[in-house]
Assembly symmetry: C2
Homo-oligomer: 465 residues x 2
Amino acid sequence: MSDAQEHKDDLLEEESTAPSYGLSDEIVQEIQDAIEREDAAFIHDALEDWHSADMADLIEQLKPKLRLPLLNIMEGRIDPDVYSDLDENVREHLVDDMEPAEIAAFLNELELDDAVDVLENFEEEEQREVLNEIPADERGVLQEGLSYGEDSAGRLMQRNLIAVPEYWNIGQTIDYMRDTEDLPEEFYEIFVVDPRHHPIGTIPLNRAMRSKRPVEVRDIMDTEQKLISVDMDQEEVAYLFQQYRLTSAAVVNDDGALIGVITVDDIVDVISEEAEEDILRLGGVSEDDLFGSVMTTTKTRFLWLFVNLLTAIAASVAIGLFDATMEAIIALAVLMPIVASMGGNAGTQTLTVAVRAIATKELTAANMLRILSKETMVAFLNGSVFAVLIGIIAWAWFANVQIGLIIALAMIVNILVAAVAGMIVPVTLDRMNIDPAIASSVFVTTVTDIVGFVAFLGLATVVLL
Amino acid sequence: MSDAQEHKDDLLEEESTAPSYGLSDEIVQEIQDAIEREDAAFIHDALEDWHSADMADLIEQLKPKLRLPLLNIMEGRIDPDVYSDLDENVREHLVDDMEPAEIAAFLNELELDDAVDVLENFEEEEQREVLNEIPADERGVLQEGLSYGEDSAGRLMQRNLIAVPEYWNIGQTIDYMRDTEDLPEEFYEIFVVDPRHHPIGTIPLNRAMRSKRPVEVRDIMDTEQKLISVDMDQEEVAYLFQQYRLTSAAVVNDDGALIGVITVDDIVDVISEEAEEDILRLGGVSEDDLFGSVMTTTKTRFLWLFVNLLTAIAASVAIGLFDATMEAIIALAVLMPIVASMGGNAGTQTLTVAVRAIATKELTAANMLRILSKETMVAFLNGSVFAVLIGIIAWAWFANVQIGLIIALAMIVNILVAAVAGMIVPVTLDRMNIDPAIASSVFVTTVTDIVGFVAFLGLATVVLL
């Protein structure tokens, strides 16, 4: 047993005491050291039989300058799936250094949807160079894949599937499957089509397997099926799969003919991506930039911060209207951020629930008023409690009961406004076909900041001056 | 054709011009009206052949007082799956009015994981009453399901599966499948086990189907498989399925024996749930409370607002240290929220990316320092640009170049601090085994508020007084 092998077993053993899959920090460090001392034998040994997804994670974790050296050491031993598993930013960085022919060879090994994913991230010219290196028939399939809109069903689908006429029996179907070479690794259903190649039914594989050879497919097929049009947005496709617990579904073209199949394992990634998009957008980040360059990340985050600067200045202008009041009673300047901050948080709670409920189609025109009135009641209850709390605190702090009453009233008003804005803003954006996740929070916090400052300082001006 | 039928076709036709699945607001309104005028014939007709998931959505959308009347009208026509598709809050409300025997009859129709889901939400006594109505052997299975920790693999798994010894051939396997009655509706793999019932390999159904009857299972099985221990957390299970693109995986007990199978369609829900949990927690909401009662929602949101009140007061205390400075130059009170707000937003951007990257295991000890230094550089670049912008604006606004310089400097400092806190806080919480989604934002915005106010007002005190 080599040292490397022994060491690898040690690491695996360590892992087995805490049975968690994925990479350990230790192994990443080990590999990093081995690349630096150019110890190819250790690396070949340690990375033997690794799953492509773990290999992709390893490459992402490495210092950027060690990534290409690792690929060179592993040349000819890397599963091409690694490239579709890689983070987009890291992949772009790597393929920059590859020849078009090398890239074409990799694409050839990938499943269609993965290959299209890799290709679509290239510049147009690079894309053409790579496509030129690919045999004509496969090139055609790839080009067709690229022709569907990004995030459309056409991009997600596999073209290889089993479709049989309804007058066949199970025996014919099995023989046909045995004779068909180019099947996807995983599939779960047999499609039944009419003479125009329109899908008319499906048979789950397990049912087909449990049926005797003479059984006719039309007698055991399910005729109820959800069809997906080739240009349906992937978010809608994911909704269908989740809603109806589909494992696979037929994709049809404009004429209704069967042209592909989408399976649930492709949907798993879509669901993660769409949820991630919502999380990032709510946080003011336009895309996953963890592995992006400094300049790209700076640029993508700039816009959000700029919009926020404008709204912060608007809030300051509102405060500026009351400078005489604050000059007279400086306690107001000390206390004013509290009202704005509580409103911002209450508004964020409501808008988070609303944005999520819109995404899952739980919040609709039918129940919108009911939920708005519930949110208002919740805001009134919590607002009242916090009004009493902050009123007492402010009174005690500045020994002034009027300031306590003013901040209490401003607090209730702002938390109520927060609930209404937190519900109305995302619903309105959604009606205007703007993603509510991307813009709701800036609108809502602008409202709660300005209302918070104006209600508090305005009341104080009326009552105290 | 009845009026109702004709109308239903109209609605369906309308939908087909905008081919989107799910409920339309019109149909919800129609059904609501029909329940109110007790038009059972219309409802029976309109809801015929509806998928359980759409039916559950309809019930959720209805006014609460119309939900039970609908169930009474639909009695005997409701697919029991509707109950596992329902939102937890709505379901609790409904089963409150059912007899234990009725509930038991429903559970009987559900798949095991769904039945356990429904049961686990009952109070202990209600659970016992329902279980008493269930035949002993099925009760045992349900009780075992309940005995696994919430969110564990044991809860997700199906117990029905096909496991065959390695010395069998495909013909024997197919015959065994034909003779086995109690199989799940969907399954994708045949498991091969040794005499101790330990899993040693898998055969995808499609491969089994394409093999001739005399082929031995040991010759075509995949021996590489990811095993899931029965107490693994569902988040970890979902990670495994995503990472290794699994469609199904064997669940083993402490002795390594095969006791169940988890399929990818169950994982789709877990991924949504886990992502939803992160979204809601980042927004300061502990759970999906869209259909929760006013009191429950008020209580669950209270804690977050209370924590925020404390941090807002802490920020006010910091401001209070500089009341003399503000009294002398009231422009400072007008401008101070801008610095805090920009820091809060920059910090939220960084922490959102960090929280997400921790959840997807992309941010680890190995690359943490590298990414922290990148975030710092991004913060420095954006901070510099916004410092210049706000510096010029403040200078112009108050005709005071010193105030412009002070706010510019405070801005750079706060955006830099925001980046560091936005990265360090979630990583530290994660190391302490606290979910970074739940607590990061309150820590980070407390830091950026206090640093923002203190840097700005403190600098002003030193320079201007």
